[in-house]
Symmetry: C3
Subunit: 254 residues, 3 copies
C-alpha cells in the first residue's frame, strides 16, 4: 500500500484532519495515512518546513506528502505538486518545501488547476480538504502530474535563518524548541575547534547522549532534526535558561 503523510497547523481538536482523511479514503480506500504533525504553530511556515525536513527521508519511496501551513489560503498563492526522484510533495507555494527539497532532485512542478480532481464546496477557506487531499489521493491512484495542472518553473523559497559571519565570529540562532524543551539551532555542521557562547556560558564539547552533560549549563548534541541542539540532562533547556526562539548564539572557530 502507498503512504500519504500529512503535516498541517490545523490542530487535532476541530476535526479538520479527520475530514481530510475522509476525502482521501473516499477516493482511495487502500492507502496508509500517516500524521507527521498537526501541531505546527498557526501560520508558522518555518516550523512546518523544519518538521517535514526532519521526517520525510524516513518514509518509503513513493510516499506522497501533504504539507498545509497556509496563511494565504484562498488568495493568489498557488497550490503546487512537486515530484522529486523519490517522493511527491503537495503544498501551498509559500516556501514550506524549501528544506525538504534542498536534498531532493526536483523532476517536475505543477500548479493544481484541474477541477476534475478538486472538491466543489461553498467555502474557500479549507484547501487542505478541498484541493490537497483529493489531488493527493488521485495521485496515489496513478493520476499523472500532467493531468493535475500546468507545469511551473520553480517554487518559492523560504528565507531560512542561516548562520552568518559578523566580524571574527558567526551568529547562529535557536530556531525551534522540541517537546522536551531542547533548543534546535540552525547549525548543521561544526568544525573541530569550535566554541559556542550562549548567555554567559561557553560550550566546546559535543555530548554523545542527553545524560552526558552538566545539569547547570547548556550542553550541545547532534539531534534528530539534523541540527545541533542545546540541552540540559533530564530537564527543559527552554525553561531552565528562559530561552527564546530566534535568540542568538555566538559561534567561534579557534
Amino acid at each position: 500500500m502507498k503512504t500519504v503523510a500529512l503535516l498541517t497547523d490545523f490542530g487535532t481538536k476541530d476535526g479538520f484532519v479527520g475530514s481530510m482523511k475522509g476525502v482521501i479514503l473516499n477516493i482511495n480506500p487502500e492507502i496508509n495515512i500517516v500524521d507527521i504533525s498537526h501541531e505546527v504553530e498557526s501560520f508558522d511556515i518555518l516550523e512546518g518546513s523544519l518538521i517535514i525536513y526532519a521526517t520525510y527521508k524516513y518514509f518509503p519511496k513513493g510516499t506522497i506528502f501533504v504539507s498545509v501551513v497556509d496563511p494565504e489560503v484562498g488568495t493568489e498563492r498557488k497550490p503546487i505538486v512537486v515530484k522529486t526522484k523519490d517522493y511527491t510533495f503537495l503544498a501551498p507555494d509559500n516556501g514550506i518545501l524549501t528544506l525538504a527539497l534542498k536534498d531532493q532532485k526536483v523532476e517536475k512542478i505543477v500548479e493544481i488547476k484541474n477541477e476534475k480532481y478538486i472538491l466543489k464546496t461553498d467555502t474557500n477557506t479549507f484547501h487542505g480538504r478541498d484541493i490537497f487531499s483529493p489531488v493527493a489521493a488521485y495521485i496515489s491512484k496513478g493520476v499523472d502530474l500532467s493531468e493535475v495542472g500546468p507545469e511551473v518553473e520553480d517554487f518559492i523559497k523560504l528565507n531560512f535563518p542561516t548562520v552568518y559571519k559578523e566580524k571574527d565570529f558567526y551568529v547562529a540562532k535557536i530556531i525551534k524548541f522540541d517537546k522536551f524543551g531542547n533548543a534546535i539551532t540552525n547549525i548543521e555542521t561544526l568544525p573541530e575547534n569550535f566554541e559556542i557562547e550562549y548567555k554567559n556560558f561557553t560550550i566546546t564539547k559535543i555530548s554523545k547522549n542527553f545524560l552526558e552533560g552538566d545539569k547547570n549549563k547548556p550542553n550541545l548534541i547532534k539531534g534528530s532534526f539534523g541540527f545541533y541542539e542545546l540541552f540540559v540532562p533530564k530537564n527543559s533547556f527552554k525553561d531552565k535558561f528562559s530561552a527564546k526562539e530566534m535568540e542568538k548564539i555566538i559561534l567561534k572557530i579557534k
Copy 2:
C-alpha cells in the same frame, strides 16, 4: 477496506482511544480507523455534535462513525446505532447525533443490547471501549442491526442554540472557536442585505478568504464547519476581541 471514524472527549494522553482501536482490530483487522477528534471538551455534547456535522459528509459511503461524548456513561441512557442511507452512527443517545442526522435520511435505529457483541469487563465506566468499539467492528464485518438489539422509535435531539428573532432583529451566537481562534457562529445562511453587530462593530461584507479583511475589526466568512465565522486576518479573533462562547451577535436585515 471499510472505515471506522472515531470522535470522543477522551483526549489522547491516557490510552483510552488506543484500547478502543485494539478492540476494533481484534474483531476486524482489515479496516481503516480514522480519528476525527478526541479533544472535544469533556462532556460537551454540542461541540461533539458540531464536529461530526462538519466532517461526516466527507467520508466514504458506508463509513461507521463512533461518537462518544458520554457524561452519563453507565446510567440508563441508551447506547444506539443509527443507520442512514449513507452511513452508520454509533453513540450514546444524548443528542450528539442531532446535527449530523438533520441532513441524513434515518432508516433504522436500534438500542445496543446483544451481549454477544459487547466486551465483558469488571468496570462500567468505559462504554467507548466495551460497547461502541466492538459493535462498530462487528457491523463493519457485516453483522446486521437487527442482531445488535431491538429497534427504537427515535433518538434524543440536542437543544441546539438556533438564531432567534427579538423585536426587529435576530440574535445569533458564537458557538465554538477553532484552533486558529476563529469564532464559529450559529448562522448558516445570510440574506443579501444583512448587517451584523458585534460589540461596537458593524459587518456588512462577506470576505472571500482569511486575508481579505480589516486587521482591527471583526470580519465575516463562510467557514468549513458550514456556518459563518468571525475572524481577523492572521490573528486570533478570540484573543483580539476577548470573545466568549455563547456570546451574542446581533443580526439585522435591512
Copy 3:
C-alpha cells in the same frame, strides 16, 4: 494485517512519531500502526507503564508494542524485546514493561544488537526511530527474536508504589490523573468492609457509574485502568480537591 502499537513521551508536535511510522512502513507497508499515547509526561516511566498495562490486553494477539519512554537513550541501558505468550514488547530496559508483564508469561527476552535491523544515522538521540521502529517492523515480517540479538535473563522492574501497611491501616496513593481529572489510585482490589479516608472525607461505598455520587465529596469507582479511582460527578476531582500525584489515601479494613 498485524498491528504495531506505539507508546512514547515524544508528543505529536515535532514529527518524531511520524518518522517512526515512516521507518516501519518502509520495512512493512502492510501493517496497522496504532497510537496508544505519545503524551506520556517526559521521562515518566511509571505513567508509561500504567498506560501500557491498561491497554495492551485489548489488542489482538500477536500485536507488537513499542514503548519508548527513554530518559537514558544512548547510554548503556539495553534496548530489549520481550516475547510473551500473546504479545511482543519492545522497550528500553528501564522498567516500563513491569506492569504489563506481571500478567503475561514471558517466553524470551533478547537485547537488540544485530545492526542489520537497525537504522544507521549520525545521531544517538532517537532510538525510537533508529532501533525500536525498524526492529518492530522486521519482527512483524517474521524475523525471529534469535536473529535480533542475544538472549538476556531478566528485565528491570519498576519500583511501583504499592499499597503498604502502617500500624492498623494501609497507605494507598494517587498515581495518576486522567483527562477528566479522575484520580487513579494504586488500589486494585478492596475487601467488603473498607473505609477510605481522603483529606477530611470518608468513603465507604463503590459507585456504579460516574454520575452516582456526591458532587461535593470524593467518590470511588472501579476504573478502566484496572484500579479504583476517586471522582466527582461531571467535574474534575483533581481541580475540585487540589489533589496531587503521589498524595496519600488512608485505607482501613473494619
